[in-house]
């Protein structure tokens, strides 16, 4: 398949569900942000905070793990379109912030995965990585989805 066709095939696939590839990214990022909010709440519970929530334990840990996995999967089409089709651009402050934070996003994600699996690291490393990642996703959402909802339209 010629390289130019990949973008076309991707667009054809995405537009079977959404009206455009941009709209798909807007909603996938929004869903990922909701799941990251679940991640923050369950992580806080695991660390003994938010005591009004159900008892911490296997269920909370499972919800935390699967919400993270789902959020990661939802960001993959966004990554594919932003990075491999649109590329790094800085035409204005909003796009420059979005492109810069987006470039570092999966790097911080990869670092967090390493931290999760390495129990020899200090206890503050994991929550720091998690909060950084959540903050980055919020910044990415504010500079893309929120911008789209407020400047273009809210729709599928």
């Amino acid at each position: 398949m010629p390289i130019g066709d990949v973008a076309g095939r991707y667009s054809d696939l995405v537009t079977t569900v959404f009206s455009s590839t941009i709209v798909a990214k807007v909603w996938l990022a929004t869903a990922a942000l909701v799941l990251v909010a679940v991640q923050l709440v369950t992580a806080a519970r695991i660390y003994g905070r938010l005591r009004f929530l159900p008892e911490r334990g296997a269920v909370v840990a499972r919800v935390h793990r699967w919400s993270g996995r789902a959020a990661f999967v939802l960001t993959l089409p966004v990554f594919f379109h932003c990075v491999t089709i649109l590329g790094f651009r800085t035409p204005d402050a909003r796009v420059a912030v979005h492109a810069t934070v987006g470039t570092f996003f999966y790097g911080v994600f990869a670092a967090k995965v390493v931290i999760v699996r390495d129990r020899s690291l200090p206890g503050w490393a994991l929550p720091t990585a998690g909060i950084t990642l959540a903050t980055m996703l919020l910044l990415l959402w504010l500079t893309s989805s929120l911008w789209y909802f407020t400047n273009v339209r809210v729709g599928f």
Binding site: T15, I22, P91, A99, G107
Partner: protein, 115 residues
């Protein structure tokens, strides 16, 4: 070097790969330009109303943050390039595929209709 550096090294490697992919635009469709005659302007009017009129106004007559398109005398290649690459605050790829072809046909028709 201690194990504490592993997350930073792995993260830096992923950032470098991401940036390299972003800089090379590996799957950018610019190598396969849109045929100027492939669009349906009537259908493009519907797509335009839903996606573009918020910034370019009804029928491209302006009034939003985007420029007036009606009567601007644009050609299909320019419109397609702007849709695909974006310009100013307009993000790239707002529409794509057949929707893009239809919108391009519509914008070309209104921009050459005397406004």
């Amino acid at each position: 070097m201690g194990r504490g550096w592993r997350p930073i090294l792995v993260g830096a490697l992923v950032v470098a790969i991401t940036f390299a992919l972003a800089e090379t635009h590996v799957f950018s469709p610019s190598a396969a330009p849109l045929p100027a005659t492939a669009g349906d302007a009537a259908r493009g009017a519907t797509v335009f109303a839903g996606t573009c009129s918020g910034c370019h106004g009804t029928a491209g007559k302006g009034g939003g943050v985007g420029p007036r398109l009606a009567g601007a005398g644009l050609d299909a290649a320019t419109v397609a390039a702007t849709v695909e690459q974006g310009r100013g605050v307009m993000p790239a790829g707002l529409v794509s595929g057949q929707d893009e072809a239809d919108v391009v046909a519509y914008v070309v028709s209104v921009s050459n209709s005397g406004g």
